[in-house]
């Protein structure tokens, strides 16, 4: 039989992705959402082949377009925005005008999914809520994203990732016990994780609609999504105790912590089973400990004082090992070990490039950029990148002509009446300076233009 890894290399061949089928082809998504939470849910559908039409306000656009790390732009765009909103059609409509709403209603007739993350109640007030959209298209799947949900006494509270981290209890769990410092999870995890949960809910609804023909309303609260990641509620309910902060350790694993190595680097190490624990003891030359009463049973070893004793042993041991050595020892002796990896390493690790975890993408407008790959690789209907973020209103003409069948004259008229519009001269909204939109076929109604 063929070697397993030769077989899987063919199965997941990264160069064959563009020729494979798309699971969500033909699904059309209207994405009213902004910042990260809603846009992430929509983006994932786009990664798997759905047509995602992102609607923004002319001249102003999504709040997150100009919000970049330390105010540093890349080719007049926000480098992290490209990962948040790839594969989308960027159109703008001025919601103050009835004509814009008519445009949206026309799109809703042919849409399968609507996503919004305004403050609860806002979409309904503007005539864009589920009650209105489902009248136009009863089969619509409508996802409302918010911090605390669409009903309940806190429904009108505004919020972002941070507030969900605070209200769910997540923020209170990060940091060292006995200090007055707490840390929020980095990189807006409280938006990205609920965004992925939102995509999962939509896909379940699509599966259901394929069976029954029925659409539905989905209410996802990012605080509830974060609470789903905690076993702490049940821990409290069963023991009457609070775990609180655990510093750099994992109290559910033996000897688990982040340690400093001989070469001043950091590694994480843990034992989740008795055999992993015995592997670690053997590697340290401390096999006799396994016969001690306090370490015979996995549960005894997890007792705080016993576990602390083991972590101290490992701390001393690792002062004599480099990070690379520890990881190799972990593999050979059968316990988990990994080096703490930073942005630069993640971007430049060759195995991540080979795997498609980090993708060096060549974009028609922006050139080369490294982007995060999918967090799950699918062998038959893989995620793919077609294009990255685009200037505000870039796809207006293309979408109105191709999807709504409008004539160029009608579109020019909408532009003149300011129903649709494009970007102001601000980074994050405008194209790179070297880029001439007059020569861009997509921008010009999708037709060939002379260069």
């Amino acid at each position: 039989m063929e070697d397993y890894f030769d077989y899987t290399a063919k199965l997941f061949d990264q160069s064959a992705i563009m020729g494979k089928p798309e699971a969500l082809k033909g699904i059309r998504v209207l994405d009213f959402s902004h910042v990260i939470f809603g846009p992430t849910a929509a983006r994932i559908l786009g990664d798997y082949g759905a047509e995602v039409i992102k609607l923004e306000l002319p001249h102003y656009g999504d709040l997150w377009r100009p919000a970049t790390y330390w105010g540093k732009y890349w080719k007049h765009s926000n480098p992290i925005w490209h990962g948040v909103t790839k594969n989308k059609y960027f159109i703008t409509v001025n919601l103050r005008l009835q004509k814009s709403k008519d445009l949206i209603y026309r799109m809703a007739e042919k849409a399968d999914v609507v996503i919004e993350n305004f403050a609860p109640g806002t979409a309904e007030a503007w005539g864009l809520g589920y009650s209105q959209m489902s009248k136009i298209n009863p089969k619509i799947i409508f996802l409302s994203c918010s911090t605390y949900g669409q009903y309940g006494p806190m429904r009108y509270f505004p919020g972002w990732d941070l507030l969900a981290q605070a209200a769910s209890g997540v923020l209170s769990l990060n940091g060292y016990p006995g200090t007055d410092k707490f840390f929020k999870l980095p990189d807006y995890l409280g938006d990205f994780v609920p965004g992925n949960f939102g995509a999962l809910a939509i896909i379940m609804a699509l599966y259901y609609r394929n069976k029954t023909g029925n659409g539905q309303y989905i209410d996802i609260a990012q605080t509830e999504a974060m609470m789903r990641m905690l076993y702490h509620f049940t821990f409290y309910s069963l023991t009457g105790r609070e775990l609180g902060r655990v510093g750099n350790t994992d109290p559910a694993m033996i000897a688990a912590a982040i340690y400093k190595t001989k070469d001043e680097r950091f590694v994480a190490l843990a034992c989740g089973t008795t055999s992993q624990f015995h592997g670690l003891l053997k590697a340290m030359g401390k096999e006799e400990l396994a016969r001690e009463e306090r370490f015979i049973d996995y549960r005894e070893s997890l007792k705080p004082e016993n576990n602390e004793y083991l972590r101290r042993l490992v701390t001393e041991w690792l002062k004599t090992k480099t990070a690379e050595e520890v990881v190799a020892i972990g593999r050979d002796y059968g316990f988990p070990a990994a080096e703490v990896t930073d942005d630069y390493q993640i971007c430049h690790d060759s195995w991540r490039r080979e795997r498609g975890s980090v993708i060096l993408f060549r974009d028609d407008m922006y050139g080369e950029i490294a982007l995060a790959g999918p967090s799950a690789q699918l062998s038959l209907t893989p995620s793919r990148i077609k294009w990255i973020a685009r200037p505000l209103g870039y796809h207006n003409r293309y979408v109105l002509k191709k999807f709504l069948g409008m004539s160029e004259e009608e579109i020019v008229d909408l532009e003149r009446k300011k129903v649709i519009g494009t970007f102001d001269d601000r980074p994050g909204l405008k194209p790179p300076v070297y880029y001439n939109l007059d020569n861009d076929p997509i921008y010009n109604y999708g037709k060939e233009v002379g260069k």
Binding site: Y4, F5, T8, A9, P21, Y69, W70, P79, I80, H82, E124, Q150, R155, G159, L162, A166, A167, G169, S172, N174, K181, K184, Y188, L189, F197, L200, I203, M204, A205, Y207, N210, Q216, Y217, I218, D219, M227, F233, T234, Y236, S237, L238, R245, T249, D250, I258, K260, L269, A270, R299, L302, D332, A338, Y344, A370, L371, A372, S375, A376, Q377, L378
Partner: protein, 443 residues
């Protein structure tokens, strides 16, 4: 603060309206159909919660999820904080015991049991496993063999480095854990205190929850759900490969873009945020508050609330406040801290809400929406009325454990085909007969 005033703040803006009442009603799962009622999931994950968690999401949506484990049980049963167990079962395993069935098959040692697994897999839509890459294949029950008899099978494998590439081959024997997956996928590198805080506080900091295992589990379930849609349309199955070393970086997408455009890693900046300020948490009279007021008009509103208007001139633009100059941002952080300690958390929450409400109606206030929330612990969050009304928690009983306890319910509310918790079970081999009769009985 008394409980009455507290209640007033969290309910004041949400007098139960017709719409809210109607919503609460249509989101009730009682009597509604389940999306995955015709889907059989075999969860053969071993000593790995990512697989167990992925299986839970399918179970919440109505799939028949069978946990396959050796007669001695999955070692994941004992992964529990400080060794706390009920009976012989660890608490995280109880939490993920929702809607599960249990069958004993010793895939590691018994060729007969592997044969039984193979038969069962003919009836399954999804198989989940977390053994070293290639292990199931060497036992004759990998994707390549199972798909011969069941071409529609969706086969989900979760490991640290995945199923392909040279790295995956070289490190196939490396076991998975949450803390190593957090470390290897970029989370701790971006969390922790500033260099001046001293060791170990300025070290990379681990998230105090199973961030990587939940993210890997969610990624696996999401991939599986997309594959289910394709299977529904075409009948074709596929293999899904989740590498837990991707977990954090690929879900938040930010680390590769920073590594590429900056050509360096970010330093750790403690409690501050890289993009927004104020966007963090401060001590107050009775605990802590999280405050987000990053836009200029939000910030001005916050200054009014905190009685700090005199500093407005120095910090007017968001570019003045972002922590590219760390000392400067830390200085502003202290100024705000001196004010927040004068208030109770709920007072600040109420002030911010009142301000936002007024500013929404006044063109003179410039639309500032400063947002404040009390920093809750899991225990205070449990007591929050919002979650009672939304049924975010549910009391359940595992008859085998003989205990009642609180469980977080599913992550979403849906009107048509909502997820739900029907039961919690943890008993080894509980459904051996049921499964054999239902799926393996000779016709």
């Amino acid at each position: 603060m008394t409980t009455e005033t507290k209640e007033a703040i969290y309910t004041r803006y949400g007098r139960p309206s017709e719409l809210a009442r109607a919503l609460a009603q249509i989101m009730d799962p009682e009597g509604k159909p389940e999306v995955l009622e015709d889907v059989l999931v075999l969860d053969a994950s071993y000593a790995n919660f990512a697989g167990i968690i992925a299986a839970s999401f399918f179970a919440e949506f109505g799939a028949e999820v069978v946990k396959i484990e050796p007669p001695t049980g999955d070692p994941a049963r004992h992964m529990t904080p400080e060794g706390e167990e009920v009976g012989e079962v660890g608490i995280p395993f109880i939490v993920e015991g929702r809607n599960k069935r249990y069958m004993t098959l010793d895939l590691i040692n018994s060729p007969t049991d592997r044969e039984t697994f193979k038969k069962l897999a003919r009836r399954a839509a999804i198989v989940i496993e977390t053994f070293p890459a290639g292990k199931m294949d060497s036992w004759g029950i990998g994707y390549r063999q199972l798909k011969e008899e069941n071409p529609g099978l969706i086969y989900i494998a979760i490991t640290p480095y995945g199923q392909y590439t040279k790295k995956a081959r070289d490190f196939s024997q490396m076991p998975d854990s949450d803390i190593t997956a957090q470390a290897g996928s970029g989370l701790p590198a971006n969390m922790g205190d500033i260099p001046e805080a001293g060791e170990p506080y300025n070290w990379p900091l681990k998230a105090g929850l199973w961030a990587a295992w939940y993210i890997s589990g969610l990624s696996a379930a999401l991939g599986g759900a997309i594959a289910l849609v394709h299977r529904q349309n075409t009948g074709e199955g596929q293999m899904i490969d989740v590498a837990s070393m991707d977990a954090y970086a690929n879900m938040v997408t930010i680390p590769p873009a920073i590594g590429f455009t900056w050509e360096k890693a970010r330093p750790r900046i403690g409690v501050l945020d890289f993009i927004l300020y104020p966007y963090g948490h401060w001590h107050c009279k009775d605990g802590m508050v999280a405050i987000a007021a990053p836009r200029d008009h939000d910030f001005r509103a916050l200054l009014k609330i905190l009685d700090l208007w005199e500093i407005e001139d120095d910090w007017r633009h968001s570019s003045d406040r972002i922590p590219d100059i760390l000392e400067q941002a830390t200085h502003l952080h202290k100024i705000i801290q001196e004010k927040t300690v004068n208030f109770n958390a709920d007072e600040l929450v109420a002030k911010a809400l009142n301000y936002s409400k007024k500013s929404a109606r006044s063109k003179w206030r410039g639309g500032g929406v400063p947002i404040v929330m009390r920093v809750m612990t899991p225990v205070t969050a449990l007591a929050n009325k919002q979650w009672h009304i939304r049924k975010a928690f549910q009391e359940v009983e595992d008859p085998a454990l003989g205990k009642k306890f609180i469980l977080n319910t599913s992550f979403v509310k849906m009107s048509g085909s909502p997820p739900r918790i029907k039961w919690v079970a943890t008993e080894i081999g509980k459904d051996n007969d049921y499964i054999r009769q239902k799926y393996l009985a000779e016709k």
